[in-house]
Symmetry: C2
Amino acid sequence: MADVAREVGVTAKTVSRVLNDDGPVAVETRERVMEAVRKLGYQPNLMARNMRVGARDAAIGLVIPEMGNPFFGTVAGGVESVVRPRGLTLIVGSSSETAELERSLVATFLARRVSGLMIVPSAAGDHRYLRAERAAGLPIVFLDRPAVGMAADHVVSGNREGARQGVAHLLAHGHRRIGFVGDLPAVLYTRRERFQGYRDALEAAGLPFDRALVESGHDQEAASAAVVRLLALPDPPTALFAANNFASMGAVVALARARRRDVALVGFDDLPLAEVLEPPLTVVAQDPAAIGTAAAELVLSRLDGRPSRAACREQIPTRLIARGSGELPPSR
Amino acid sequence: MADVAREVGVTAKTVSRVLNDDGPVAVETRERVMEAVRKLGYQPNLMARNMRVGARDAAIGLVIPEMGNPFFGTVAGGVESVVRPRGLTLIVGSSSETAELERSLVATFLARRVSGLMIVPSAAGDHRYLRAERAAGLPIVFLDRPAVGMAADHVVSGNREGARQGVAHLLAHGHRRIGFVGDLPAVLYTRRERFQGYRDALEAAGLPFDRALVESGHDQEAASAAVVRLLALPDPPTALFAANNFASMGAVVALARARRRDVALVGFDDLPLAEVLEPPLTVVAQDPAAIGTAAAELVLSRLDGRPSRAACREQIPTRLIARGSGELPPSR
DNA sequence: ACAGCCGATGTCAACGTTGACATGTGTCAA
DNA sequence: TTGACACATGTCAACGTTGACATCGGCTGT
């Protein structure tokens, strides 16, 4: 900047004024500055600017479990689409679903003095350590799952209601024994909610809950094995509800391997090839981009000074997409 | 920092020394400083540090076309896994495959004084504007596609050889008329390379090239339509080579809709549910994570002062995964 | 006993930018 | 003619850190 100023024969401050459209500058001076900027290829140093101006970085920190997962990738895309037009940069890190990495990422972001924090919390974490930051006015929003140990803004899917609808869909097609295949029970929020939705649907239909019909597995293989166990029961289910996309894929694989075209299936979360499967997969689709945009807008509204101390929760509705696999009649 | 110093009764500089393990500090002082840091919840300001120390931000800027696309998401994950252990933060933006957004993202990153730039270039771009930065020593690496108008480091898949292998696989199973379904021809690098591989394979087998067997479409629907056109030819292909994952999905859908179980298919790029399809999809798999890690290591090596002016190119090999769809015999 | 050195800390300035305030020049109304 | 005011620009300090160099007391070796 000093170089540009020298070139034109003015002070750095004048250059600054030109570049920020701040204060009155003579038209001629402005033009000469602009030309010098071009000539010297000068680019203002955002770091220095951020430091001087706000002590806050014009950036939003986002923690997701995994970048390769299209669900979270799409969430991130939603966030970016809202945040960029506001001149904010997106800083991303993946936690591999571990509380430790998540915390270290958050520490890095805080050290950078980001303007907002968006976190897809990992299951095992405890977020009390963020209370001070939140109290200090830093916008913090949790995505896909709520924070643990702290009341904070969060945006989640309508997991319970979505699952209820999916299971109700199977019930409507005559099924009475419906298996549930989910992630490991432990503490995972989404699994808990969806399981509740499953029970809601059964209860609304006046059906008993049978613990034997509930199986779990953390990845596709484990989910496959879980499905095999369910089908081997003395009184096996005629339909399955898969509570996440790994479970869906596992179920699809297991059914295909066993050549069981007679078992109905509804999966939670849409899959790219769902419509090409045999039979096409009926799903309860989430809207990951909407989760991202809603959360980002929440951050921006906090940034714009919505003061409300109260934590707010936003639910993004799911959508049932009937394609065939959920419409099979019970086989017995 | 000043607060911490006051609390302990030392100078800011001493606090700085403790925090950076820099210079000798009495054990007792160190402990008192640490305690004050904890007590006051002090966190060093990375922006200020970066500015003072290097005038470079300890961050890497990454431009990808789309975050929701698992291919690029996985690439980003690979980058992060290499870059984070080195204490570098990842800043990401998506270009939606437009040169304009790409350029504006790059401008933002440059303004932040990132330590390195990684770009998946969009098709229409021209990267000459980056020559000055590169000459000034900023590590710049292009991913998945080379830069346009500038010699620069890049890491790409073995597109041509991979496509050749995929098509050779079909030839080995007796096919003589093999359709090619790719993205729009225009300028897209990967499409061009894969098309060359297709022709390489034909030529090696002594087969004539038939322009009528080449069709294009930019998304899944268009690719489906392209396949329909191919199958409606007077002398239709008995096998198809789909040059990217949209084309693969489109082909799968088209074949399923037409109930054509007799057409062999090899796709470029693996798909999550490939093995569940009927028949399971044979693919030429890329290794997106490896592209990301290789590119990141290239950036780091440049950062560590590998001076070489020469641009270097790295190819990540592909892998043929035979699953069934590519092993169907010709139907006539 | 004294030079020399090491360990512990302090002082000052600088990184690149902008906010607060000051200065100087010309214009216009009274 | 003069005071007021708008405009164009300059000066200085500060944001939070750390590099370069200075200071000071005590320990070592001869």
